[in-house]
Symmetry: C2
Subunit: 511 residues, 2 copies
């Protein structure tokens, strides 16, 4: 018995004959399945670089202080030691045959709580090269599983645009929200200094949001709210200098909503003075004001280069344009070294084959690189290099599942949303709890989409096509997320903050 | 009219014939006087590197999550633009004759929200030498005053003990509290990893508190509370490894309380398993485990060298041993270049003198370096190098006041506490508002001292000598600080957090 397994037994005396389910990730998919697995049947072990779950729909609210950061978080560990153990670490590699994963511990990870934009190994190397900080790989340890559930999620996509990784702010994790809140207030405080010129003020208070999906739109709305409701009263002399612009390469905003709601959002934004620039292309983001050399010291003004507009001085760029495949999926889940007993051949092409002699790999979506699963969420294996070769032999691993943004059920096009991830997770937990995996596969039930568009207005598009906008949709938005929030702690704190901030304004202390 | 003054007029159209009172600092003294000055009579301008006031008695609670960080903060700027303006900056120098201070702007200061242990100029140079980050001096601007109130406070004293500045955590500002909360949880998470040995666990969960004054004692109590009430349930297997030790060079704890209460606190701590080591001397703090070379990578275990004990491996050291004079007081307020009209000679020694021809300097306490004031809080000038030369000519500046931890009234020994600072501030605001400065000078009214000692117990020592300990004192403690907390926002949030954390436990999400 290795020290890991001795330790797991120590921390969880009930481990006797239960199967161990290792869950990689603590996002919507991983956290949901971990909580819903029956602890009498399974010993669940969550492995994630984050020690908490982020309730992502409230992240934009926390980034401006409408809610406090912790109201959007649930720690993975709880006082009631319920059904799962937790190790803070990164999955490094998987041995499907030995049913074992290798984990790199990640307690002191410098990227902790921030959106991920590149493989941690590359980032580490970069930081070392710049000699900006010491970096070291965490210790590795192995963990065996009976069942493995891969819910590692996606990274933020920056399309290789120079400077974006380093100088843009993201909105995928709570550390991102904290950076935005701090930067926004710093921009106003710097603009309020007597040494700041009006031109610098205009740049510092020029906020660019790149990506007009729900995250970008909701953030812009929240940003507009804090400026109108709070900062305009605190810094009235600075109001004329501020500007919010949303950029997107696509010709329209909020593509998941129907035309009418999209137009309603655009009209609302226009009325409120938020600029929407669709079909615009960001080409670069660099420190320093336009025309000046980098780091000239103007309170970290940035220059955003837009193909259609040229160079623009901005105080902050919030980037929310899409997803990039997780390096773990791209690298660790590629070639399959050996096949476990739970390997099941689905089709063998034209002739009989010897599965063990073939070179198998995890089947992935050609376009997005997502892990392909069958409708029961088992990961698929293929011998072909490309999805499109439909004659190649295919198989599944009956003890390995993939759900959340990193996975897609072959033949479906369910979006990479919290709703899909948590439905898949609940479905999988139920099947595992009941042991009836061979029922009809998972199918997604669209519960509608929502977006907050500012000034106590929202959009709601029901699954049947019913559209609601305005104040009523806003009440549905708040009601839904309050109901969905996990802990009683947050169900109490969230309305308290809504009330307090409505009465007294958002807190602008910056630390 | 300079740009600063144009800007001040812009931000505050009421400026006509009001006197401008510049207040350096936003702590207990500065924030109180700024809020209480009559805006009809004075244009108050607060200059501080911090954009908020810290309600210090609650800081220890926030460092373990009993309260959320922001409940101990009040932003200097508010939605209701009341009686004062604010610039985020460091006072750099004063020209008493021209009645003008030079300010270095500090919006992007890297030391923002952390305890100060050395002059920012030295710290900047050090960071530059290590090439660890770019550093730059903020732009300077001048601000004239009619009256100047110096409330710059003190820095944390580290007595030049090697490694303390860099590796210890402090508890003087909200950023310190955040660092402590994060480090504490990281120590437990690292100890929970299967790759961590039992010896490493013992070191990671060994917490040292240096300084047995109220801050050190209250922090130890809060630390013990979170471990007993929360972490012991979340990590039951780790409880045997943890240890809390309070070190002090003095032979007893809580010197400001009388013998009986001090003994009660010691007994309580002993019963709860907190070790108190009085008459112990810390000699060094360095990264790495005892006997190993620095930075060996064991989740940043530290080695604390104590004269009486040798080298000890610890997970965290919280340092709260005392105060060091603010470099602004030490440097900027030394030689006086020229005398303003408000100069008033107090005694001229044995013969008649020509004040302008003498070399004047701000009079300071020989032992602490604090600014000496008269009982009306005017700063004193002297021509002597030492306080003890009682024959040297002395004077006051009638338009310059010093209050808070950086100042002391000559002939008194009021402690450097929030109570003294805020009483002086209120007294001064009242005098300035009424214009009756020549009344009897300030005298301190002791309202009693309190300290939380853990497990819902506290000490309270009334001004008349009445002593209360235990649960009743705890209720007084909570009641007093709830009443004293400034904004309605915090008066609501503080009891909400007390209740929520009592019901559900403290939040342990780490980001």
């Amino acid at each position: 018995m290795t020290s890991v397994h001795r330790f797991l037994r120590l921390t969880d005396p009930r481990r006797t004959d239960r199967e161990r389910v290792v869950i990689l990730g603590s996002g919507w998919a991983g956290y949901t399945v971990a909580r819903e697995l029956d602890a009498k049947k399974y010993q669940a072990v969550v492995v994630s670089p984050r020690s908490y779950f982020v309730f992502t729909p409230l992240l934009a609210s926390t980034s401006v202080g409408t809610l406090e950061f912790r109201t959007a978080l649930e720690p993975v560990r709880t006082r009631r030691r319920t059904n799962f153990s937790f190790f803070q670490g990164w999955a490094d590699s998987v041995d499907f045959k030995a049913k074992k994963i290798s984990i790199e511990e990640a307690v002191d990870d410098p990227a902790s709580s921030l959106a991920l934009t590149e493989c941690r190994k590359e980032a580490r190397k970069e930081r070392e090269d710049e000699k900006r900080m010491e970096t070291r790989k965490g210790k590795l340890f192995d963990l065996t599983y009976d069942k493995l559930i891969i819910t590692v999620g996606c990274y933020s996509q920056t399309f290789g645009i120079p400077g974006v990784k380093k100088h843009a702010l993201f909105l995928k994790d709570v550390g991102d929200a904290r950076k935005i809140r701090s930067r926004l207030l710093a921009c106003f405080e710097a603009a309020a200094l007597p040494t700041t010129t009006d031109e610098q003020r205009r740049r510092l208070l020029n906020f660019a949001v790149v990506g007009a999906g729900p995250t970008g739109i909701e953030f812009s709305a929240e940003l507009h709210d804090i400026i109108r409701e709070d900062l305009a009263r605190i810094y009235p002399e600075l109001v004329p200098f501020h500007k919010i612009t949303v950029y997107d390469v696509a010709p329209k905003v909020l593509p998941m909503f129907d035309e009418k709601l999209g137009k309603y959002a655009m009209d609302t934004f226009r009325r409120e003075g938020i600029f929407i620039k669709t079909s615009h292309h960001v080409e670069e983001l660099r420190p320093g004001a336009p025309g000046e050399k980098a780091k000239s010291g103007d309170h970290s003004v940035l220059t955003l280069k837009v193909k259609e507009e040229g160079e623009i001085g901005v105080g902050m760029v919030v980037w929310s344009t899409g997803l990039m495949q997780n390096p773990f999926v791209a690298n660790a889940l590629d070639g399959v070294k050996g096949l476990p007993k739970t390997f099941e051949l689905l089709k063998s092409g034209s002739e009989k084959i010897d599965a063990d002699s073939l070179h198998w790999k995890v089947k992935k979506d050609d376009r997005t690189g997502s892990i392909m699963t069958d409708s029961r969420l088992h990961i698929k294996l293929t011998t072909s290099d490309s999805e499109s070769n439909s004659h190649a032999p295919e198989a599944i691993l009956k003890d390995v599942y993939a759900i959340g943004d990193c996975a897609i059920i072959e033949g479906t096009s369910y979006p990479a949303t919290a709703q899909v991830a948590s439905q898949k997770a609940s479905w999988l937990a139920k099947r595992l709890n009941k042991g009836d995996m061979d029922e009809a596969g998972f199918s997604f039930k669209n519960m509608g989409v929502m977006a907050y568009i500012g000034n106590w207005n929202a959009l709601f598009q029901g699954s049947g096509g019913g559209n609601i906008s305005g104040r009523t949709a806003f009440l549905i938005w708040r009601g839904a997320y309050l109901t969905k929030s996990v802990s009683w702690r947050n169900k109490i704190l969230i309305p308290v903050y809504w009330m307090i901030n409505w009465m007294f304004g958002r807190d602008i202390s910056r630390f």
